[in-house]
């Protein structure tokens, strides 16, 4: 099964029953599989007229009580930005899958890229926090898709599932566990009666409880700055309270959301940081560098946003040189550099996309970083 | 030949048509005059008073003419006027 198909199966396993999409290479296989599969499990797939429509139709379905997602790539992701903002503002749990390709613009439709990472973080206007996951194999496309849905329900936030063309088209064995072994987070519906319920009043974890349309709560949901009732309030105070909470419900739970996979970093002098397909290339590069006598480990970011700042600070405090390997000219690199606070050398092994890294390119940077240390 | 109506047919009072009472949410009014212009029985005029927003709200000049048709409520863009039925026995 390839990554695109595994992503679809993962979503279905997570309970996703509404998908709106628009075909775009290299994510098309996901919508094609949904079109075949979802009617058989009691869900709806609709091919919308464009990505703008797809990205908001899923939010309509979420408020109707469905778990929903959309999937796209490069240019389509740019079109979806407005509705990522809407999903953040209205705290609408949903998943956006981006099978990244080379950009900017139409770029490289059939070849990989990892240059949408900052767009995932900051693409919509305004200040906000989202969660972004990066799988590195078809198996992880399945497994982490379930995590993506669970996180979106837990924090009522749109979750970005940042695949890339390589992962999407990579065919590997995928083990699908028994349905009862899959941990699925249900939506947190309120138990309060309509007269006591305030749709945007945060519970203890800063996340409000949800209701769905048609349940008699007669809620108002708006993309405008709103108070607990959901009514628009045009004031700096309300803005401060709302945006502060939207940002902090993710930031303050960073440790809980954090998902990193560290390999051999305890004794390492150099740590390679990577995510997605590049993390797999980095494994080979690390083996190559170790042959040359460099003590090097790998820190793989599965959850890239919220960024695990404390982990990077810790590595920097321990004096480990850092090599950021990613398929762009420095996006997460600057985050790493910021967290390193100049205490250790931070090197970028990057390129513009279109192909995975050459193993030697990352290995060279590892050796160079090691030299910087001494 | 014109039909003649009797005030007291068969010795009974002629049954009255529906009657209504106009309720004006005066301070919600923005003085557009729609209700005054389109009241079919000319129950309302614009008053010379000002409301809290500085508009002239309507006032009822012919309360007896209101037939509770509700046109004023329907055409009022401000949801600031409506009529309440008056039960026939209280007329």
């Amino acid at each position: 099964m390839d990554g695109d198909h595994a992503c679809c199966e993962g979503a279905l396993a997570a309970g996703c029953r509404f998908v709106a999409g628009y075909p775009i290479t290299p994510s098309t296989a996901v919508v094609e599989r949904f079109a075949r599969r979802i009617p058989r499990v009691g869900g709806v797939f609709i091919q919308m007229e464009d990505e703008l429509a797809s990205s908001i139709a899923i939010q309509g379905a979420v408020w109707a009580g469905k778990k929903a997602m959309t999937v796209t790539s490069g240019p389509g992701y740019s079109l979806m930005m407005e509705h990522i903002g809407l999903a953040v503002m209205t705290e609408c749990p949903c998943v956006f899958v981006n099978v990244q390709r080379g950009g900017p613009s139409t770029g490289l439709p059939t070849l990989p890229g990892q240059a949408d990472m900052m767009q995932a973080r900051w693409g919509s206007h305004g200040d906000y926090e989202i969660i972004a996951l990066c799988p590195d194999s078809p198996q992880e496309c399945f497994d982490f898709m379930i995590d993506a849905f669970n996180l979106s329900e837990q924090y009522r936030v749109p979750v970005m599932f940042m695949m890339d063309e390589c992962i999407g088209h990579m065919i590997e064995k995928v083990t699908i566990p028994e349905a009862d072994k899959i941990d699925v987070t249900p939506r947190n519906y309120t138990k309060l009666p309509p007269d006591q319920y305030l749709p945007f009043k945060p519970a203890e974890n800063m996340v409000p409880e949800m209701v769905k349309a048609g349940d008699g709560y007669r809620i108002h949901v708006t993309g405008l700055t709103h108070d607990y009732r959901g009514y628009p309030v045009m004031s700096a105070d309300c803005q401060e309270e709302l945006v502060h909470r939207l940002v902090n419900k993710i930031n303050r739970n960073e440790e809980k959301i954090r998902h990193i996979i560290a390999t051999d970093i305890e004794d390492a002098d150099v740590v390679v940081i990577a995510y997605g397909i590049t993390a797999r290339v980095a494994v080979d590069a690390i083996a190559l560098a170790r042959k040359q006598g460099v003590k090097v480990g790998l820190l793989r970011l599965v959850v890239v946003w919220p960024f695990p700042e404390a982990v990077i600070r810790d590595l920097a405090n321990k004096g480990k040189a850092l090599v950021m390997a990613e398929m762009n000219y420095g996006q997460i690199y600057y985050e790493v550099e910021r967290c390193a606070q100049g205490k250790v050398p931070v090197l970028l092994a990057g390129h513009g996309g279109g192909d995975v890294h050459k193993t030697e390119a990352i290995a060279e940077k590892i050796v160079e970083a090691n030299k910087c240390l001494s | 030949m014109a039909i003649r109506y009797h005030d007291n047919p068969f010795g009974k009072h002629k049954p009255g048509g529906p009657k209504g009472r106009v309720v004006i949410v005066e301070d919600g009014c923005k003085g557009c005059g729609f209700c005054v212009e389109y009241c079919p029985n000319d129950v309302l005029v614009l008053s010379s008073r000002y409301n809290v927003k500085g508009y002239h709200p309507p006032e009822v000049v012919h309360p007896d003419k209101c037939v509770n048709c509700g046109f004023c409520r329907m055409i009022c863009p401000e949801f600031a006027i409506y009529t309440v039925a008056i039960e026939p026995e209280t007329v």
Partner: protein
């Protein structure tokens, strides 16, 4: 206490409102949000009255109704109606409503938005929702301009209309909305003005009860901008204009109902046809192809 709070307090304590008289709209409107933001003599509030009346007359429980709006003056309707209401992004009310309706086909989904929102930025979504015959009612309050942003020319502004971005007069050809709606597949198409309150209500009832994609255009005065800039007087003058210049022709060929700046406005119910809705078609096709593997979708 803010100015708004003071006003609300004042409205609540209004001496003319006798205690015990409950506002007939209080079940339908979010009274805690009234007064609304619309200008004096604006026609949008009137259309909301008609909508409330239509819902009441069809006996649709308000809990089952969802109102979706986009952005703009009419986009604010969702904020004032006491149903499940969604104020979405600019132009995207229809795709949001698509998801809402498909997510829960028991909901009565109504899109209430303006001409710029539905036909300029959201034009493509309108076409496709009508083509698919998605079960929803689209109510478009057409005030011929972008009023919320200060009166720019819209795709519905009649030729010659003077607006802030057509200071020398609009030289473009506007959309003829009923014609557009019919040609892309709407099953019910009507046009009225804000003066035709009973007709609007009747058409709304028909649209709400009709399965499939129904469309009602309501021409409403925008006294602050369109009427002022084009020397039509205020909203009341404009209602008088509608009174004198609208002609009711039910079933008129929609290609003939375009609107000139000062011409006669043809109103009426133009289209009323039957077509299988999106969900009906989906269920029929998938059942035929998948047999026992497919359960009829009901939400």
């Amino acid at each position: 206490m803010s100015v708004i709070d003071e006003l609300q307090q004042a409205v609540k304590n209004s001496p003319r409102q006798s205690p015990g008289d409950e506002h007939p709209m209080s079940n339908f409107l979010r009274m805690d949000r009234i007064p609304h933001i619309w200008c004096p003599t604006c026609g949008i509030g009137t259309t909301v009255n008609c909508f409330a009346q239509a819902l009441e007359r069809c006996s649709i429980p308000l809990d089952d109704v969802a109102v979706v709006s986009g952005i703009g003056c009419t986009g604010r309707v969702a904020g004032y109606v006491k149903t499940d209401s969604f104020h979405t992004t600019h132009g995207r009310a229809i795709p949001f409503a698509t998801g809402l309706r498909l997510g829960n086909p028991k909901l009565k989904v109504v899109v209430f938005s303006g001409d710029g929102d539905l036909f300029s930025i959201g034009g493509n979504h309108f076409n496709h929702a009508a083509r698919r015959n998605l079960d929803m009612t689209v109510i478009c309050v057409n005030n011929f301009n972008y009023a919320m942003t200060g009166g720019q020319v819209a795709p519905t502004s009649p030729t010659d209309s003077v607006l802030t971005t057509s200071p020398y007069g609009n030289f473009e050809t506007p959309f003829n909305l009923p014609f557009l709606a019919e040609s892309v597949g709407a099953t019910f198409v009507a046009r009225w003005t804000a003066l035709h309150i009973h007709r609007v209500t009747e058409s709304m009832i028909k649209a709400l009860m009709k399965p499939g994609f129904s469309f009602i255009e309501i021409i409403a005065p925008c006294p602050t901008i369109f009427e002022r800039k084009n020397k039509f007087g205020d909203g009341l003058d404009r209602l008088k204009f509608y009174h004198d210049n609208s002609e009711i022709i039910h079933g008129a060929p929609t290609k003939d109902v375009d609107i000139g700046l000062r011409n006669k406005i043809i109103v009426g119910e133009f289209v009323d046809i039957e077509r299988p809705t999106f969900i009906e078609s989906m269920n029929a096709y998938l059942k035929r192809r998948l047999g026992s593997d497919y359960d009829i979708y009901e939400g």
